[in-house]
Symmetry: C3
Subunit: 149 residues, 3 copies
């Protein structure tokens, strides 16, 4: 466990990052459960197993779940990269933890706002708040490595 | 090559991870070939080059390829993160290799089941089997870094 | 900043990688702005806030932006992994920088070709050129770690 224990910021990042990966997995499970409950399958072979080809169809709530998941891919996956690199440029632990925690909380709120269709602009605000630590980390990293371009 | 040769588990992870990235690239190539063969293009400029705007259209098999690719993004990309971190928390090589190998084989089966539309629930089972090592790695990582939250 | 300053190739990789992450963020912002300008929202709650449910609709240019973003996820996210690992197998700095720079420039051209609907096959060529350093890195990594499979 050498590398992780040598770097407290990295360990703190990993904690929130893994929670967010689990959050994405939960979104996938929810999508699958909604497909079963609404009987709306993306593939004919799945529809055949669950009652017939008429269930090879789209459903608005399934599509909502998919958009929520897609938005996670667009935002959480780049965070997994930025947060790891940011942990290596020597930020102070309290400042770094603030970055990770704001991103984590805002992305959880984003998923909740998406799944429950909360009134606009709740979801958009959660997205914007989550982007702030990401842009902050990206700029700090660029400054740290600009000499190597 | 210092870091890689110092950590056998990480090298083992990298081997299967890179094979899976190549698998994703192959899926993209297949999608492109199917677009050309079925004459079904997502962009009017591509359709114009290949016969006319009437080929700016969707095709069920192109959409199937895209869903297979999308599912890879949702699952293989988080694995690239989890596997790398898991390699740093000191697992034994045989146990770690088992995690990587199960994920690798299940994701290859998932792609095959998708592209050949194998009877349900083959594809879903491959997805679930691939998730087991991912959830296992995620939980072991959380235990290792929980003190730093 | 120990790890980054110890490895010039990795720092060079990080520079271009973070620029590409910012490029993806810009694509997301453009998509949002086009949604507002064209009044085409993916969610009814957003449409309600901006004039009414009739604006819960698709728009061809919004879909184009989304395809550009999706293609980035399919290609830039695996590059974030491959480039990091490749930096650890000891390539020479000039050769590594060439890999990163070709990928960076080709992916910027890809986004420009997508957003401005440049004549085919501009976009496809940019995609192919960007894949060359990726496949090169993937193969070099496989050779470096093959003994650990």
């Amino acid at each position: 466990m050498a590398f992780l224990t040598r770097n407290e910021v990295f360990s703190c990042f990993v904690f929130y990052a893994v929670l967010l990966v689990i959050k994405m997995y939960i979104l996938a499970i929810i999508t699958g459960q909604v497909r079963l409950r609404k009987k709306a399958f993306a593939n004919p072979e799945d529809a055949l197993r669950h009652g017939g080809l008429q269930f090879h169809r789209e459903d608005p709530y399934v599509e909502r779940c998919r958009r929520a998941h897609m938005n996670d891919l667009e935002n959480i996956l780049p965070f997994l990269f930025l947060g790891a690199i940011y942990s290596m440029i020597g930020p102070s632990l309290p400042v770094a933890r603030l970055h990770f925690l704001v991103f984590f909380l805002a992305r959880v709120l984003h998923s909740v706002a998406y799944l429950f269709a909360l009134r606009a602009p709740t979801r958009s605000l959660a997205y914007i708040v989550a982007q702030i630590p990401c842009v902050s980390m990206a700029l700090q990293i660029l400054v740290a490595v600009a000499a190597y371009a």
